[in-house]
Symmetry: C2
Subunit: 245 residues, 2 copies
């Protein structure tokens, strides 16, 4: 029978509270964007702890994107991201959502090609092993900030014109509509949280510890046919996520 206090011996190490203190100061509005944060030496002395500990705390905040650092100058608070409202169990396309909220959305098609056989993807799509399956990858940019990566996989058989127009696709939803499919909806979405790979950091212009939310889903049409397998990566700091019941 596990008691409350016995949990503590489960922890490998008990870190000191410096990170919490700094974050708390930031949250309480002690600093505004652009303000300089206290130096490593100052905090090391204040908390009677080695400078390297302060550094580690600051580096986490930096890697999470909250602050930036300039050698010789100091560390500064970054402006907060403005957040787009995203209803995660809604059926509006991303493009429509941004339009509805009057946001400046730009989309860049960064991958549009046939893929080699992949067991999971081909299985999800009910594709034959030697069948054409296309991968379309879009980068979503709102108000000049990259905020999301949309990866979609679709059988060429369903949309034969994709071979010609694939590089021009800027919305899978619109593309499917134009191809004659109707009553598009998501079947069931699996959500998880990850940290960005180096490539994702490059694409999303984000630092290494900005959590990303991954939504994996299948898009079906009115006849319950699976059209798309999609993996959408959103920056967690660029959206206000809403769940309607």
């Amino acid at each position: 029978m596990m008691t409350f206090s016995s949990f503590f011996i489960r922890i490998n190490s008990m870190k000191d509270p410096i990170l919490d203190v700094i974050v708390s100061d930031i949250i309480q509005g002690l600093y505004k964007p652009g303000d300089k944060l206290p130096s490593e030496n100052f905090l090391a002395e204040k908390y009677s702890t080695p400078r390297i500990k302060i550094r580690k705390a600051y580096e986490i905040l930096e890697d999470m994107g909250y602050i930036y650092s300039r050698q010789g100058k100091g560390r500064f608070l970054r402006p907060k991201h403005s957040k787009m409202e995203l209803v995660i169990n809604g059926n509006e396309s991303f493009t429509q959502k941004a339009r509805t909220q009057g946001l400046d959305l730009k989309t860049i098609n960064i991958i549009s090609q046939k893929i080699e056989y992949n067991n999971k993807i081909f299985k999800v799509l009910n594709a034959e092993k030697n069948e054409d399956v296309y991968h379309i990858k879009l980068l979503r940019i709102i108000n000049k900030n990259p905020v999301a990566i949309h990866s979609s996989f679709i059988k060429g058989r369903l949309v034969p014109e994709i071979g010609v127009v694939k590089e021009k696709i800027l919305s899978m939803y619109d593309f499917l509509k134009k191809s004659g499919f109707s009553k598009l909806e998501s079947e069931k979405t699996i959500m998880s949280v990850t940290l960005p790979t180096l490539h994702e950091q490059e694409l999303l212009c984000c630092s290494p510890l900005v959590p990303l939310i991954l939504f994996e889903s299948k898009t079906i049409d009115g006849q319950k046919q699976i059209l798309l397998y999609s993996k959408i990566l959103y920056r967690s700091d660029s959206f206000q996520y809403v769940i309607n019941h």
Copy 2:
């Protein structure tokens, strides 16, 4: 007009790919739980990079909870968490969900008290300034692993018996049902991702970089009356999150 390639100058620093390489090896199943990972010195030599860079990459993995470290021995891969399925737009209570999946759920009531005036909470609950508002905080433990923190706020006026039984509450849903409320549902949930505070790390027995998912919502009854304001913190690595459409 922002072009694709101009994004790269937006990035403060371009980290080297060591973390990606190690993570990739782990994901590909190169190591199984308990296996020893290559030493700092080995990788530093392999990638011709200072040892401290390897250490930083390993420390991130450690702080994310994927590996553990033993001075003099090395670093080892932790077992993966088993995941409970959690439908985030469903109306089943957490307790019911765990039962349905045959999981061993234990709940500990860690806070049960009246709170001082708090503008946001009192406003959400439509509470008067001098009114009793109770805070119930539950720690959820599944198969001996703490996985979630449920914080709920409720007006004492709605459930006068709470003053007597507050320390015994182990499910707000059940408590409300017993108090005579019916047709409970969540109004609209706001979701965000955070990293755990020190205290949250203690409660959830998790390391500092395990992302937590925060769900904020109001629970209403059949008459649309706001009963509860809840903030639920889940470990992102302990659940498979499902969204039904």
